[in-house]
Amino acid sequence: MAMSRLLALGGALGLSIALGLLVRPVLAVTSGAPVSDPAPKDDHVVVTFRPNVGDYFPRVVDLVLGLKAAEPMRMKDTWRFPVGERGTQNDYATFFASLPYVAQVSPSPSQHEDSAPSSSYIPGELLVKFKAGVTQDQIDAFNAQYGVTIKGHITGIGVYQLQLPPDRSVEEMERIYKASGLVEYAEPNRRISIPRLPGMRPFRPGFPGSTATGSVKVRFVSGAIPDLVALVYGMRPLGPAADGVLHLAPNLKTSPDTAARILRLCPSVQSAQVSS
């Protein structure tokens, strides 16, 4: 807790000075000798920071993401980060690639927005097909149990588009519905895109009708320091935090979808959803 407060203060004082000064005592515990092996393994991501970032920022990132085991490598400004429990290697690679202070990430994120379509999904929605014979009353009762409402329905194939309550993540509700004996299948409402040719940049957000211009609504766990997370992620807070909720504008290297996805890697984040 005290550490968090100190780090929050660090955010207020400026990244390069404050983080170094305030985090130095703690970092002494986690520092290690440079690692010689440059090859990234499945359980690591190797990150080269921009010159002059120094040793402190990587360690702060390490702490904020709850990894606590970053190791400096022989190559200058290069660190090896273990993959945490809150995402895949690709998720963490995506996170590091999004940071303004990072020059290179290995392996490169495979779902980089410049080449592959996003595989993320619409926040707060779940697509569910109930088993044959399940009555509408049963469906309504089951939904009501979790504060879920019906947003859409495709007659003929019997698929429901469900709106989840704000305090429930898609992943959590997917697990709950899949475990129910009433449900044939449940899945996130995934985004799907027009295939772009390799090397072509994605459509720029901001055109009429675009929903890619949204912010990310982040709910933090008790005791977290929202401003510090925003600082580390390079995202701009849209107003002050209230009741543990902060709206963040994604940085220039991420879409709202990706921003929400990588924010969920942070243990201080309870939920992160795109807010249009």
Binding site: S115, A116, P117, S118, S119, Y121, I122, E125, L127, K129, K151, G152, I154, G156, I157, V159, Q161, Y185, E187, N189, R190, R191, I192, S193, I194, P195, R196, L197, P198, M200, F203, R204, P205, F207, P208, G209, S210, T211, A212, S276
Partner: protein
Amino acid sequence: MPLGPKRPGLVLTLAAGLALAGGCQAPVTPPLSKGVGGDLAVKFKTDATNAQREALRARWGARSGGELLPGVERWHVAGGTDLEAIAQSLTQDPAVEFAQPDRLRRICTYPTPPSASQQWFLATQAGLNITTAWTSASANPPGNGVVVAIVDTGIDTSHPDLAANIATDASGNKRFIDEVGDGVEGSDVSYHNKDGNGHGTHVAGIVAANGTILGVAPGAKLLPVKTMRSTGDGDDFTIAKGLKDAADAGAVIINLSVGGPDPSPVLAEAIAYDFSKGAVVVIASGNAGQAVYYPAAYRGVISVGAVNNQRQVASYSNRGKELAIVAPGGDSPTDRARGIYSTFPTYDVVLNQEEGKSHNYAVQAGTSMATPMVSGAAALVIAEARLKGQSLSPEQVRARLLASATSIEGSGYHNSSGYGMLNPQGALLWGSHDGAGL
């Protein structure tokens, strides 16, 4: 007795018989010839004797060309004879029920062959060689009346090359299913019932443009089903709804130039629904050079990869055992000689601003462009079958397209080119549509 409205069944039977026997074309086409010299169709009354028949042939200098239909003879008459006059006279004879010239019928307005400089993918041997295919088609124009749903970003229904081919309702109003609307997430208010991106209009032109440029099936009807926003993205629910509504609206071919790496039971469910309604589903395999995307990877779908203007598999084209067929997709989104030139919205859309595309026409490339080539070819096949009174199942259409495909990497199946390169003429001429095992 002259042919007339009191004998519609007989007229239709005779017309069909003439068309089949004489290699003529659809009876809806007006005759090109008044019937001077050539053949006559003569039906004798049931009590007419052989002597009466021979006497009439001798009188008009005709010889029998055999029986067209029960009781209906084909007569060969020397050139320079006025067949209309003979027929008129014959119908007055007590032994004759009716007579008429075997009128020449063929496609009266073949589309002007596409320009190789603009549309290499249609006009050249490296492409689909579509003009040759059209000469094998009876439907006028080729693909006539077959409804193809373009499940995409919408279509500019006012485009001069597309406007006449937009499907209409019973009142003659253009149809447009806008699943995005004020919809699922956010809205596309600036482009309600319009294409706000450009992708869908481009795809639509490849299927059925009929104007300055041409599509593969210039007689097909386009049903716009908008499921993708201006930004080119959509979601499983909206697309599934579009796939389902397209089939309910009567589309017999559903084109989806969209995909992603994640499987989706909902999309699989919607595609199964389309099959149950008798619709052929054609989907792009994807542009990542990786495994075939979903929903193209689902069973029964015609998943389409891309080749360049050398008939080589494009490096970006997704591959794998789910790939069914390849078609021209080009390898340049800017160069007309290497990409796919097609219709584009007549107003400002995202791709005008993002990629500097012009209004009206533009070059694009990818499996998105290869897919509507296959949808167009499917329309040719279905239109042809309809004229022959056949009703083909989605499996049969798929089998015809795959069985007639041209190998480009050696015989047999290949992960990168499927069963080979789309061959519209081969599909039209294919004698069997069993296709077991394809």
